[in-house]
Symmetry: C2
Subunit: 357 residues, 2 copies
Amino acid sequence: MLKRLLYTVALITLLHNTSAQVKFYPAKQFTMVGKAQETDSFYHRLDTNKYKGLPKRVTQLLANTAGLAISFKTNSTSISAKWCVSRSRPNQYLTPIANKGLDLYVKIDGKWQFAGVGKNTALCSDEVIINNMDNTEKEFLLYLPLYDVIRQLEIGVDSKAKIETGINPFRHKILIYGSSIVQGASASRPGMAYPAKLSRLSGINFINLGFSGSAKMEPEVADMVASVDADAYILDCVPNANAQEIKQRTAYLVNAIRKKHPKAPIIVMQSVIRERGYVDKKMGEAVRNQNLAIQNEVLKLLQANVKDLYFITSEKMLGFDHEGSIDGTHPNDLGFERMVNYIYPIIKETLSKHGIN
Amino acid sequence: MLKRLLYTVALITLLHNTSAQVKFYPAKQFTMVGKAQETDSFYHRLDTNKYKGLPKRVTQLLANTAGLAISFKTNSTSISAKWCVSRSRPNQYLTPIANKGLDLYVKIDGKWQFAGVGKNTALCSDEVIINNMDNTEKEFLLYLPLYDVIRQLEIGVDSKAKIETGINPFRHKILIYGSSIVQGASASRPGMAYPAKLSRLSGINFINLGFSGSAKMEPEVADMVASVDADAYILDCVPNANAQEIKQRTAYLVNAIRKKHPKAPIIVMQSVIRERGYVDKKMGEAVRNQNLAIQNEVLKLLQANVKDLYFITSEKMLGFDHEGSIDGTHPNDLGFERMVNYIYPIIKETLSKHGIN
C-alpha cells in the first residue's frame, strides 16, 4: 500500500517535471512558409471554397500540408511537437515520417541543415524532435506532413527559452503544379520533397501544389492555378494525364496562366520516365506517348507565339541505373537528388533571364 | 433478377479467367540467395536452435528475411506474388514496401535491373509485380521483406509460361554483421539495402546479418558470427554498442572469427556519423566516442599482430550536406548510395588482395 502510494507520488513528480521542462506554443502564432496564398484555414494550401467545380480529390488534397513549414526562432536546447493528423490509411509508398510526420531544419552558418524528425506514432503524437543543442538563438523550419492534414500542432521548447516567429526565408514565389511526385512521393521525410529541396538550394520560394494522382489539368484546376499570383509557374503535371488529356488540356492551362500573368515564365516539364516502363512495355509506351504529347503541345504553343514558355525534357532526370525510384514510378531520395541536380540549373537559368534570382 | 444472374455469371467468368491466366508456384521450390548458411527453415537467415544463449531480440531478427532473395527464370510476361507476413507493427522508419513488401529485379544485358515491387496491403497480400513484358526467358531475383518474416510465399506467372529455379548469381560469401543500417533501415525497398547494392554492383555475395538495434557484439553473438563459413567478414556493428561495450567486446569478436577462419580478411567499419549528432551535441559526442573506441580496439588488435584486419573510417560516408538520412541515424536511399560509393572501392581493393574478385 505504502509502496503503491510512493509509486504514485513518484509518477506525479515525474509527470510534473517533464511538463515543467517543456512549454508548448500553438504553431498558428508563428510564420507559415510555403503557401500559395493566404488562406482562412492555416493548414490548407489554398482556400477551396474560393474555387468552384474542382474535382473532389483535388479539394481533399489541398488540405494536405505538403510543402508547408513553420518558421520560428528560439534559444531552446530542445524542440518537441504535439500534433494530430487524420485517420487516413498509411500510404504504401511513404515512410510514416513523410506521410504524417514532421521534419525539422535549423540554419547553421547561413545554410538550412537537417536537425531531426517527429515520428508519427498515433492519431496525436507527442515527440521530442531534437535535444542537447547549445542555447544560442537559431532559426528553424518545421516541415509538415506530405500526405495528411494537420488538425492541431504545438511546438515545445525549454520552459525558460525564448521562442519567436521567424521570417519567410525564401525570396519570390514559384508555383509548381503537379502530381504525387511534386507532392513528395516518395521522399523519406517532408523536407526531401523536390520543391522543398529546390527552395533550400536556391533561397527561392518554390510552392508545392502537388496533387497525388490527380494532376489532370482540368479547366477548373487550370483556373485555380492561374488565379495564384506567382513570379513563375512550373507545370510538372504530365504523369497523371493520359496523352489524350494532355492534348486536350495543355493549351488551356498555359493560356489561362499567360492571360492572368502576361510576363511570368512558364516552365513545362516532361514526366520522369517510369523505371518500371523499361520492363513493362505497355507502361513504357504510355509514358513515351505522354511525353511526346506534352512536347507537341508546347511546340504548338511556341509556334503560336506564346512568350516566355520553356520546356524541360526528362530523359536524364533519374539517372541511368534504374535505382532512383521506390516502385518504378515515384522517385526515392536518390531519384529526387538526381532530379534536382538535373532540373535546378535549367530552372535557375530560366528564372535568371527574367530577373528572378 | 435476370440482370443479377447475368452479373453473377459475368463475375464468375471474370474470376475464372483471372485465375486461369496466372499460375502460382511455392517459392520454396526455387533457389534462395543471400543466406549465411543452409537452414531448416527456408525463410530464416540462420537456424537459431543451433545457437544457445543468443539475446532474444537477435533470435527474433534472424527470422526476418533481410537480404534474402528468390532466384528463378521464366518466359512469363507477368510476375505476381502472394505472400503472408506477421502482425508486427509497421516500422516508423520504413516504407511498407521495405518493411513487409517484395522487390523484383530482372537481368537485362548482363545487369540486374529494377523491375517492380510487391506492395504489402494486408497480412496476406496478392499483387501483380510486373506485367506486359516480352516473352523471352529472363532471370529474376525477388528480394524479400527487410523487417518482417515470411510465413508463406508463392510466385505467379502466366499459366502457359515456363518457370524454373535460378542460380545464385553471386560469387564467394562475405558476411556483414551489423545494426539496423545493415538490415536495411531506411532503404525505400528491400533491394536498396546496402549489402544488396554491394552484391549487384560487384557480383560478390554479401550476406545481410543486420540486427536492428541489437548488434552489440555479445560473446554468444560473436561465436555465432564466427561459426558461419565465409570468405571475408565485415563488422559494421558500432552503432548499437556504447563505447564501453565496444572496448569490452571487439577483441573477442575479432579473435573468435580469426580463430575459426585464419586467413579470412576482417574489415571493421566505424559507425556512420549520425546527422542529428551535428545538432544534438550529446548524440554527436556519443558517436565520436563509439568511433574512437572501435578505432582504438582495431589499433590494439593490429599491434597484437592480428593479421588481415582492416579498418574503414566513416567521416565521408554520407556526404557533407546532411541530407543522407531519414531521421539523423538511418541512411535514406541517397545516404546508402553515397555509403556504397565510399566503401565499395575500399572493400573491393581489400578483397582483391586476398584473391576475392
